[in-house]
Structures are given as C-alpha cells and as structure tokens.
C-alpha cells in the first residue's frame, strides 16, 4: 500500500487513482443496476420512482407464450452454435499452430473476420446467401451464422493457449506409441482446455445476445430472447423486459462464474506446482 514516506502529491494521486477506477467500473455496470430494480416494480411502465414492488412481471415473463418460446429458442440456438464454433475453432487453431505454411496469416484473417466485419453486413450477406437455399427462417440457418460469429473467439483463445504449448509433449506421446488422435485427446486437449472453455464461453455469449443477424434471418418461430426484447421495447414497453433482462444478467453471471472455475481448475492442472 502507501509507503510511510509518501509525500502529499503522492498521497493525493494514490486516492485519486482509486476513486477514478471505481468511477470507471460504475460507468461500465450502472446500466445493469438501472434495469434490475425496475423488474420488481408493480407499475405498468418502465419509470422511476418505483411506487410499489411486486413479482408480477416475472410471472408475466414465465407464463407468456411468446417470452417462453423466445427463452427456449435461445437455449436451442446458443448451445448448438457454441458446439459447432468450439469444435471447428479448436481444430482450426490446432492446424494453424502445428506447422508453417505460406497463407497462414491470410487464413487466420479469414477465420477472425466475422468478429471484425460489421454484424449488419454479416446479417445482410447471410440473408442473401441463405434465401435461395431455403435457410432463412430456419433454426439451421440461424445456428450456422451464430457459429460463424463465435468461431473467432474460439480461434483467438485456443491459439493463445497453443502458443505456449511445448510441442515436445506431442513428440513424447508419439514416441510412446500414441497415434495423432490419441495424442490430441490425451495430451493436447487437457492442456489447452482453459483456452477452449474461454472460447466456448465467448461463443455462447455472442449467440445468446445476438440481435442483428436474428432480425434478418429468424421467422417468428425462431425468435430468440434478445430479439423478443428488441421487439418488445418497440411495441409495448412492458416491465416484463426488465424481468427478462434481470434473468439474463443472473444467468450470464452464473455461467461466467462456473466457467471461470472450470478454467481455473484446468489451468492449475496445466502448471501444477508444489
């Protein structure tokens, strides 16, 4: 902390720096705090001050057919997209890390491009590309595009983990008689698991709060939760949105904590010390 010989300006800076940090953090999360209390309002409008508290909007959220269908859709599309993105992204990273070849950086660029290209362009492109194939208004189409949006996160996190990977471990495994697939499952996978888990988390979050592509591609049957909230706020500003948002926040926090715990465990395994 602050050493005993600190001068007055040093002390001032010490406290200013901390106050500033707290303000930055508040700035980042205060929108979340604004929405949470509103979900407990008994009022029919999204306004402060809250005059009476009730759980009626949670009830509305959980009983309304449109909201529950949107919730279910999100839980169909996001895990499916995450699975595809994680498997493909991990394989791509392993391939990119294992050897040198001329078009390596170009390939890396293409794999990461869905993260850089504006989502609205991805949405329009996907719509025009999928329409003749009959993939608009289908779960498959939505899952595929969400997977493409998630791949960059997996590629980046897994590649970062592989960058520090000791390739002699692969050679050692081969010298003991393990084929490439066994080596991958028994040696590479467990050691890059932290990267895979982080990438999968990002891919899931990307799909779970994606609105733009869903606007272009989803028919009413494929309405996801964010898409439903987006529609709801335009049409009827009901505090059920606040309830949906609060549930989403809680879910995201729980997901983050679980995966962070998993990742930490895998990380300890990788670099176990006395």
């Amino acid at each position: 902390m602050l050493p005993a010989y600190a001068s007055l300006p040093e002390k001032a800076w010490f406290w200013l720096f901390r106050i500033f940090n707290v303000l930055v953090l508040l700035f980042l999360v205060s929108p979340l705090f604004a929405i949470v209390p509103l979900s407990f309002s008994a009022d029919s409008f999204l306004v402060y001050p809250i005059r009476a508290f009730s759980l009626r909007w949670y009830e509305a959220f959980l009983t309304d057919g449109e909201w529950t269908r949107a919730l279910m859709n999100s839980f169909i599309v996001a895990p499916a997209a995450t699975l595809i993105a994680t498997v493909l992204g991990t394989l791509a990273s392993v391939g990119l890390a294992s050897r040198e070849f001329p078009a390596k950086s170009l390939l890396m660029g293409i794999l990461v491009s869905p993260m850089v290209v504006p989502v609205v362009i991805v949405g329009v492109g996907a719509y025009l590309f999928f329409a003749p194939l009959g993939l608009t208004g289908s779960y498959l189409g939505l899952v595929l595009v969400h997977a493409a949006l998630g791949v960059p996160f997996v590629v980046i996190t897994v590649s970062a983990t592989l960058a520090g990977f000791n390739t002699n471990l692969i050679r050692a495994s081969a010298s003991m008689g393990a084929g490439p697939l066994t080596t991958f499952m028994k040696v590479v996978m467990p050691l890059v698991a932290p990267g895979i888990i982080s990438g999968a988390l990002f891919a899931f979050a990307t799909s779970f709060d994606e609105v733009v592509v869903t606007l272009f591609l989803a028919a009413p049957e494929q309405m996801t939760l964010p898409r439903q909230m987006f529609g709801g706020i335009k049409e009827n500003i009901s505090p059920a949105i606040a309830a949906a948002a609060t549930i989403l926040i809680l879910f995201s926090v729980a997901l983050l904590l679980t995966l962070e715990w998993l990742r930490g465990r895998a990380e300890r395994m990788r670099t176990r010390k006395a």
């Binding site: 050679r171 495994s173 010298s175 003991m176 008689g177 490439p180 176990r272």
Partner: protein, 367 residues
C-alpha cells in the same frame, strides 16, 4: 546402396542426407551401424547434424535421401508412433497434467496391458530411478533432476528396442549432471538396452559411451571408443574437440613407415607418429598436455626441445603451464603436483620432451 543390415546392427543409416531448404545439406552423408545393446553417443558442436540424425531416427524428420533400417525393417515410411523407440528430451517433456505414475503408465495403457501389470511395471521403473515415493506427485512439484529421472523411466518402462536421448542433462547443474551420467550409464549396463545419446559435451560422451561418433558439418569425422578417440584422433578437428590438445603446424619432410619427420615453422625437425599426414604436405600435429614432460623429467624423452615458461596456473591436483614453443605461444603442459619443480619461474627456459608416439601428425583440416 540398398543392402539390408549386417548381423549385430540394430540400426543402420544408409547414404542418409537431410536438407531443410533443398539447398544446403545439414546431414551430408551418413552411413552408420548402431550395434545391438551399445551406448552410442553422437557428439558435435551445434549445427553439426547430430540432433537431425536423432530426429530422423525417431521419425520426427524425414531423410531427404537414403534409408534408415531398424531391426531388419525399413523405417522411412513408418510413423513415429509405430517405431517402438523410447525418447528422453532435453526439457523432459513430462505431461504436466498427469502424476508421475500416470506419466509412466501412459505408454503401457496404449499397449493395452492389464491394470495389474501396469502397476507392477510402473513400480519397478520408479524403483530403478529411486523415485518410489513420488508416484502421486505432479511433474511441476519435482526438481529438475527428479523430472529427468521420471523422463528416463518413462522412456524405458515400455521396454522399447531403442532409447534416444537428446541432450537430456543439458538443463541440470554440473554436479547433478555428473551424477546422472553415472546413473544413466549404470541403468544401461543393467538393462542392456541400445541407447543413442546426443550431446555437445565431450566429457559426457567420454564418460558414458561404448562408442562416440564425432560430427562436424553433417559428416561423421570419426566413430570409435572413447579411448581411441582421445588417444588416436583421426584428424585435427577430432583432436581439438575431444579433450585438450596442443597443435603444432609443420611440413612433412620424409616418411618412414609409421613415423615421419616434420619441419616446424622455426626450421627445427621433429619426429612424429604418422596419422594421416603425407610426405611433402603440411600437417597439423597434436599432442595432449599431459604427455609432455618438463625439466629433469624430459631427459629420457625421445624428442627434446626447449621452451620459455610464460605462466603457471595452480589447480590443486595439478599445475598447468603455458609455454612459448617456437612460434606457438599457447603450448599447454599439465604436470601432476608431485612432479612440479618449485624453482620454475615465468620467463625461464625449460626443457620439454615427449615420446614420438605421443605426437601425432594428422592431415590438416582447414575448412
């Protein structure tokens, strides 16, 4: 060039070449037979091709040209995991997410042995490297020396035909390294397994090996027992790379049988053992510092010259003396402490002498 292997050879390299860029050859031409049960060391400076040879044998590199045979089988198209060759790496390459016991069980599980047999073999292998108590530790919890022992046990536990070691002691400190050298040597003697060992440390090679292959520029300069390499190096590179060596340049005046006469730079004539030098050609002569006698002890020697003493370095069990002999300013002599004359002073002129057989006239290698 595609004859198979001779009787006692386990591994044969036949006309092997390796180039990474298609232009320069890192291994120029390799014909090498590795005998069953021997401890062969590939010794050479970095970039001499020794590690590339090991990697080609393990299957991690493919020869650009030539054939490699293992136990009567052509290896060129066999992938590493089907070669049944154990390997010890410089930085151990233990699996950090598995305990010591799991690391050792890994090759055994791949061979589908029963749980009982795996447990028994792991226990035996750990006993061999004296780490019985550490089976449940993770590699990250062990010291460097312990990790290297685990790596050694893991390369041996599945009883491969051949064990390769790529500078396995490079990361250890000197004392531990010397201890591990003996330990590896004893394990080799006990198991009788064939070992190919790569190092750039000549004392390590001399300590452990049955035979040493000295590499330079992608070619084996000499392959011989440690004793023969030291006492009878076949060229100037081997003489200077293995042990300490004094080099005297001159020109061969006449040759008679095993010996020859050589004129030194200052015009004096000396006799030397012929080891590749040819008449009327320049030669690099080599003599070990411990073969040179000084002062009164030089009297019975066949060759006697005089040299000026430049400095003495006291090293406890012996004294090293640097002398100016003709044009050579750095002529080193090693004298056991019991033979040192306390009257020797820097600047003094001393008698130096040696036996003719100890001065070897080699073909010069000025590449």
């Amino acid at each position: 060039m595609s004859e198979t292997q001779s009787g006692d050879a386990l591994v044969s390299f036949r006309g092997v070449q390796k180039s990474y860029d298609g232009e320069s050859l890192i291994v120029k031409h390799l014909d090498l037979d590795i005998r069953r049960g021997e401890f062969l060391t590939l010794l050479g400076p970095s970039g001499s091709g020794k590690t590339t040879c090991l990697m080609m044998l393990a299957g991690f590199e493919t020869p650009s040209h030539g054939e490699i045979w293992l136990d009567g089988k052509l290896l060129n198209r066999v992938p590493p995991h089907k070669r049944d060759i154990g390997m010890v790496f410089q930085n151990y390459a233990l699996f950090p997410h598995m305990t010591v016991g799991e690391n050792l069980a890994y090759p055994l599980k791949l061979r589908k042995l029963s749980a009982g047999e795996i447990a028994e073999r792991v226990k035996k292998a750990l006993g061999m490297v004296r780490l019985d108590a550490l089976a449940h530790r993770y590699p990250g919890q062990l010291s460097g020396g312990q990790q290297q022992r685990v790596a050694l046990a893991r390369a041996l536990v599945f009883e491969p035909k051949l064990v390769l070691m790529d500078e396995p002691l490079g990361a250890l400190d000197k004392q531990l390294r010397e201890h591990m050298q003996l330990e590896i040597k004893h394990i080799h003697e006990r198991l009788g397994v064939t070992v190919v060992y790569v190092t750039h440390d000549q004392s390590e090679a001399l300590t452990m090996s049955d035979r040493v292959a000295v590499f330079k520029d992608g070619i084996i300069q000499q392959i011989d027992t440690p004793n023969a390499l030291y006492e009878a190096p076949s060229n100037a590179f081997v003489a200077s790379f293995i042990g300490e060596n004094n080099r005297l340049d001159g020109e061969v005046v006449s040759v008679d049988g095993e010996q020859c006469s050589v004129r030194l730079g200052d015009g004096s004539l000396v006799r030397a053992q012929r080891a590749g030098a040819e008449a009327a050609r320049p030669t690099a002569m080599s003599i070990r510092p411990e073969r040179v006698r000084l002062g009164a002890l030089a009297a019975p020697c066949e060759t006697r010259l005089s040299a000026r003493l430049i400095e003495q370095i006291y090293l406890g069990d012996h004294v090293r003396l640097r002398l100016a002999l003709g044009p050579t300013q750095g002529f080193m002599v090693k004298v056991p402490i019991s033979d040192v004359d306390t009257a020797w002073q820097a600047g003094q002129t001393l008698d130096v002498g040696w036996m003719v057989k100890d001065l070897r006239a080699l073909a010069p290698q000025d590449a």
